[in-house]
């Protein structure tokens, strides 16, 4: 710890008192003992994964030469060994985080491997969805019993894989909606960890995994009224952006704020996709009559998301005037209005969508300029550049117009950076 090394020098130079120096030393000592060893945790989990894979490869080498009985014993031994390890950790090492995480992860994969091996050995027919469902239900308690965030992470990933399997292999009615129940199961653990240890590395990965899984799976709610998934996605990205901008996340570095980045990127990409007229072509064929909407999963999803987003928006801006609200936070409302316009006039919706993207880019330039932040300025320029690239695909613009647009954006990039650097240098002098 470099600060601890410098303490005697700082005390000697009368910058801090010896009491303060002692307090600093005590603080670092306390931190070292209470905070779990991050490196050990990561290598413990990696070790569990590698050992598991290694054992599987060794067994796989001679697998075909083994009799059915021996194969069955091997499959069960793998599971029982992982269970015994977990049992040992619960009894003897409940406070050792590395042990808890790595053995729980080993058991998680052992359960999946065991079911797959038994199916393979006995040629048992089965659906991917029922396999995933059985595996998830048998392992989700490990998140709570072993207090394991690593299992929670891989569980979330596997549930994401379950979603399309359930959507397209409907063995019984409403199977696809079971995914949402499964997705909710690890959430109390996530919330609990968020309250207790917000700096935990596995929790930070959750901040990426949860929005990623939701982004990948929301689309499977799409049935008859596919167009409604655009406002649904836009609202969901709006929620992510607001969570990323909330009090608990605002001051975090970008690397540990997946909500903000996925929310922002999702919003911009969705707006860019909808800036093409061809992507609105299904609007004319869609029946938006209330009788058709009321039972549609897309509509219910839109309502729930919009309700959640509105609550979040009002909560975050309750102390602000309406004129002070950030455009980024209300993009989902503006897009919903554009979507309503599109039911009457698609051309107008396309123009408004393009203006919204352009406005977002300009807003970022303004914020970046105010904060003297080159990253924000360049992101704003990038949004405008992407809009220009998208428009260059439109055939109704001549090459000259396209060329002028590119030149303007290029000059804009150069000017913005040059002015900002000049402004910074001026401030320093």
């Amino acid at each position: 710890m470099s600060l601890q090394k410098d303490l005697p020098e700082l005390v000697g130079a009368n910058i801090i008192s010896s009491d303060t120096a002692q307090q600093i030393t005590d603080y670092y000592k306390r931190k070292q003992t209470t905070s779990p060893n991050r490196q050990l945790l990561i290598f413990g989990i990696l070790g569990a994964l590698l050992v598991g894979t290694g054992v599987m490869f060794i067994v796989a080498n001679q697998w075909d030469d083994l009799s059915q009985a021996v194969q069955t014993v091997c499959a069960f031994l793998l599971l029982i060994a992982a269970q015994l390890l977990c049992g040992y950790v619960i009894l003897k090492k409940p406070d050792k985080k590395v042990w808890r995480e790595s053995t729980a992860l080993l058991l998680f994969f052992a359960v999946g491997a065991n079911i797959s091996l038994i199916s393979q050995i006995y040629h048992i027919n089965g659906e991917m969805s029922s396999f995933m469902l059985t595996w998830m239900l048998l392992t989700v308690p490990l998140i709570y019993l072993m207090d394991s965030s690593a299992v929670s992470l891989v569980y979330l990933f596997c549930v994401m894989v379950y979603s399309p399997a359930a959507r397209y292999n409907l063995s019984y009615p409403f199977e696809e909606y079971l995914y949402w129940v499964l997705l909710l199961l690890p959430m109390p653990h996530y919330y609990n960890r968020f309250k207790k240890s917000p700096e935990n590395i596995l929790l930070i990965i959750h901040h990426w995994m949860v929005p990623f899984v939701l982004t990948m799976t929301l689309g499977y709610l799409s049935h008859g009224i596919k167009m409604l998934m655009y406002p649904a996605y836009m609202t969901m990205f709006g929620i992510f952006y607001m969570i990323g901008n909330s009090h608990s996340f605002r001051n975090r570095p970008l690397i540990s704020n997946g909500y903000l980045l996925i929310g922002f990127l999702g919003t911009v990409i969705s707006l860019l996709i909808m800036s093409f007229k061809s992507n609105w072509k299904d609007m004319a064929e869609t029946n938006f009559h209330i009788n058709n909407l009321i039972a549609a999963p897309e509509f219910i999803c839109c309502l729930i998301l919009f309700g959640l987003a509105t609550v979040l928006l009002l909560q975050q801006n309750k102390t602000m005037k309406l004129t002070e609200w950030n455009l980024n936070n209300i993009v989902f409302i503006l897009f919903l209005l554009i979507f309503i316009f599109a039911t009457q006039d698609v051309q107008l919706a396309v123009i408004l969508d393009n203006l919204l993207v352009f406005g977002l880019g300009l807003l970022m330039l303004r914020i970046g300029s105010k904060k003297s932040h080159l990253g924000v300025i360049n992101t704003g320029m990038l949004v405008i550049a992407l809009l220009v690239i998208c428009r260059s695909f439109d055939t109704d613009l001549t090459f000259v117009v396209k060329g002028i647009l590119f030149v303007l954006v290029g000059i804009g990039f150069f000017l913005a950076n040059w002015l900002m650097i000049k402004k910074r240098n001026g401030n320093e002098n």
């Binding site: 499959a75 269970q83 027919n125 063995s171």
Partner: protein, 200 residues
């Protein structure tokens, strides 16, 4: 202490459940062999495969089989294009060979003689729904692939020979009895060639 006891008890329950599920899968197999309905699926000797023989091809330790009864006539192509799997209900012809009785999108309620099959529609053909059964791969564990190749090449290229896969079916679960090529059990043939090899 109380919480720890609760955690241990819950873990034991979960561990038993984790062992029970695969055990139950195994224990249902003999029951399936006893109570399943036996069907004989004729191998399509006219179908071209990746290899030089008809109706089957070898991939790793599996023989991929092409059955005669793996298509159904359809009227509305669009209706079937949107799904990827369907329930196939079987019946038997006068010689005991499997025939498709019906293909439905929902689980047949009053029957056990069905499996869920993958479905696809060829882009050129709008009259047939193609079905891929879960038992279209026959696993030959102990046999030499060269011997297997020679057996199925001689057997399947002759359309006059009777080749079929005997399968017991019960509500989507199946138990493969044997592969019959030219009226002789594939298992017996393999055993025979093994004994011959030892005697030499």
């Amino acid at each position: 202490m109380k919480t720890k006891k609760l955690i241990i008890s819950a873990f034991i329950v979960i561990a038993i459940a984790q062992l029970f599920v695969p055990w139950q899968m195994i224990s249902q197999q003999p029951k399936l062999a006893e109570t399943g309905v036996e069907f004989k699926f004729k191998i399509d000797s006219k179908a071209k495969s990746d290899n030089n023989w008809a109706g089957a091809s070898i991939r790793g330790k599996y023989i991929w089989l092409k059955f005669e009864e793996d298509q159904m006539e359809i009227v509305n192509k669009k209706e079937w294009e949107q799904i990827q799997s369907a329930y196939v209900l079987f019946t038997k012809d006068s010689l005991g060979f499997a025939k498709i009785e019906a293909v439905t999108k929902t689980r047949p309620p009053n029957s056990i003689e069905w499996v869920k099959a993958r479905t696809w529609v060829h882009w050129k053909d709008s009259t047939s729904l193609h079905l891929e059964y879960p038992f279209n791969m026959y696993y030959f564990k102990d046999a030499n692939p060269k011997e297997v190749e020679s057996i199925i090449k001689n057997g399947l290229n002759d359309s006059l020979k009777v080749n079929y896969l005997s399968v017991k079916i019960r509500e989507n679960q199946f138990f493969v009895n044997d592969l019959i090529i030219d009226g002789i059990s594939f298992k017996e043939r393999i055993e025979g060639t093994k004994k011959q090899g030892k005697n030499r």
